[in-house]
């Protein structure tokens, strides 16, 4: 850094972001889109938090856009079912870091993530608990979609659950605001972890919306019973193949104008697969309305896919046994 900049920067005081030293670090608990996550405890209040360190791997771009998204979107979204961003802290800047502060996002601490719970053979879910998880998942999605935010990275490891059983959508590093119909958006389709990626993204759509998250919710719902991701493709083609095998062939009949999507004609897919979502999953999900909801979440045509709002009205959540 040049001499005169050093001078100027040193004259500044930063009363606005607090020093991360007020949290005592415990153990590393995970790795997010843009940084490591530590469990930590506030020295004053004893409150447990998750500290997410913002890694600066691409220095040419400056402060990572994923972190900017997470900050700006979580400041906007305050809901029981969305992970709470408590504050942003920094480690003191010094000449050693070339006067760049290290930034930390401070989140409320959640004991579990859904992927971990599903992996553990000691954890069993009964129907009431499964309903409760799905209900809260749909509540969270309803809230963010109403606020015109797409999560864009639905997967079981991004679903956190507190020890009191409250579900929190987390990791908004890929999320973005969307604008409805009138404008002609062109978003990137390189989002969402492959196994949870909906057919419209795999076919190259760039003007998608909330249904992309609902597809993910469908994959997660099936996972709640099957205890592992239901479609584990290792390439985009393979993933589309798996989707076709489960949800039937993709054509203009089930999905008007699907042939207009960029990649539709470039990918060879079976033409005569029959839809068998219910048949294939009924041995796991032994509940008729549950199967029906799953079927509606895993609908190929995004325009027909059930919305979070409609899902919350689904009989699955309103018949016995009730969610808590």
């Amino acid at each position: 850094m040049s001499k005169h900049l050093e001078r100027k920067f040193e004259e500044l005081h930063f009363p606005y972001c607090r020093d991360v030293a007020r949290y005592e670090r415990d153990s590393k608990v995970g790795q997010g889109t843009f940084g490591e996550v530590f469990k930590a405890r506030c020295q004053e209040t004893g409150r447990l938090v998750a500290l997410k360190n913002i890694l600066m791997d691409n220095e040419r771009e400056g402060f990572p856009i994923t972190a900017l998204r997470e900050i700006s979107i979580l400041q906007l979204l305050k809901d029981e079912n969305v992970v709470k961003l408590i504050e942003i802290c920094r480690a003191k800047s010094s000449a050693y870091h070339r006067f760049k502060s290290m930034f930390f996002l401070v989140f409320e601490f959640c004991e579990h993530d859904l992927a971990g719970l599903l992996r553990s053979s000691q954890v069993r879910f009964d129907l009431v608990e499964q309903k409760e998880i799905m209900r809260q998942l749909c509540c969270g999605l309803f809230f963010i979609h109403r606020n015109k935010i797409l999560h864009r990275d639905m997967k079981s490891s991004n679903i956190l659950i507190t020890k009191k059983g409250v579900l929190k959508l987390a990791d908004f590093g890929l999320s973005r605001a969307y604008y409805s119909a009138t404008s002609n958006p062109r978003y990137t389709n390189r989002v969402v972890t492959l196994w949870y990626r909906p057919p419209e993204l795999l076919l190259g759509s760039r003007s998608y919306g909330p249904p992309i998250d609902m597809w993910g919710a469908g994959c997660i719902m099936a996972e709640l019973w099957k205890r592992k991701p239901i479609m584990q493709g290792d390439s985009e083609n393979k993933q589309l193949m798996l989707i076709t095998q489960l949800c039937g062939s993709i054509n203009n009949e089930v999905w008007p104008n699907v042939d207009q999507l960029e990649l539709y004609k470039k990918i060879e897919l079976p033409k005569d697969s029959k839809r068998c979502v219910k048949e294939r999953l009924k041995s796991w999900v032994r509940n008729a309305s549950g199967l029906n909801l799953l079927d509606r979440l895993l609908t190929l045509n995004p325009a027909k896919r059930i919305t979070a709002d409609e899902a919350l009205d689904h009989s699955f959540f309103w018949e016995d046994p009730h969610a808590k």
Binding site: L5, K8, I71, L76
Partner: protein, 269 residues
């Protein structure tokens, strides 16, 4: 940006109080008159606007960058960070926050060079001393100083909605320009954007001799605030009308601007 203004950091942390704002400016006002201070802020709003236009950014992004700039100096003296460094920094951050796809950082830096040598030569008179690496360092300072409050609401959206309600196409273009002008006043630091939109519409109606009193009367808003915003705008128009010539006058004012003691040296890149 989507979401609810009334729950936003813009509303909760960044609608400032007039007294606070003048208190923070006090140290700069030992060297500059209030009017000179305003002229410096106007210069850099123009600079940010020109930088944004040089890479064809939407007005929304330029407006966000301008608000960032004003937020930074609402808490800091002009001498803390050279505003000619802060300007591209605000623009690059605003582009990221507003999800402007490609990174144009190098183009922005080229524009800084070109504009200071060309269109804004009257203000700078020497080579633009900063490189991208300086801007990226400065970005951290900006982020911290704004307490990472990134979402800025602008008057443009409410303005478009109100004009549609009024059902008169002739008002929007002029009111839109007035909103752009409002970025050269303190309005965006002091008042919620929808009030700025209403003030701009009101002023546009007066200028166009349109009688929309009925529509305004039915709004349930604080007309004292609309009046205050209008006064800020009129003061700006007075300044321009009373023969202020940025090209002729700004250099002398910048000379008086408080700066860090060392002279800028081109950093090694």
């Amino acid at each position: 940006m989507a979401g609810n203004f009334w729950q936003s950091s813009h509303y909760e942390e960044w609608i400032l109080d007039k007294q606070d704002l003048s208190a923070k400016r006090k140290s700069d006002l030992q060297h500059l008159t209030e009017e000179e201070y305003q002229k410096i802020i106007i210069l850099f709003a123009n600079f940010i606007q020109a930088l944004g236009e040089s890479v064809k950014l939407r007005q929304q992004i330029i407006a966000t960058a301008t608000v960032y700039f004003k937020r930074f100096y609402s808490r800091n003296s002009l001498k803390c960070v050279d505003p000619s460094l802060m300007s591209p920094t605000c623009l690059l951050l605003a582009m990221k926050v507003e999800e402007y796809g490609p990174t144009l950082s190098n183009k922005i830096m080229t524009s800084c060079n070109n504009l200071t040598k060309g269109k804004f030569q009257y203000a700078f008179k020497q080579e633009y001393p900063y490189r991208l690496v300086n801007v990226l360092e400065c970005e951290f300072i900006l982020l911290e100083m704004m307490d990472c409050c990134l979402i800025v609401y602008h008057p443009y959206r409410p303005l478009t909605e109100y004009c549609a309600e009024l059902n008169d196409d002739s008002i929007l273009p002029l009111a839109w320009r007035i909103v752009n002008d409002s970025l050269r006043t303190d309005a965006c630091l002091l008042y919620p954007p929808y009030l700025i939109a209403i003030a701009a519409m009101h002023l546009a109606c007066v200028m166009l001799k349109k009688d929309c009193q009925k529509w305004f009367a039915e709004l349930s808003v604080d007309f004292d605030m609309i009046l205050e915003i209008t006064q800020l705008l009129l003061a700006l128009y007075d300044l321009w009308r009373d023969g202020y010539d940025e090209k002729r006058d700004i250099y002398a004012i910048l000379e008086k601007m408080p700066k860090a003691k060392t002279n800028p040296v081109a950093p090694r890149s």
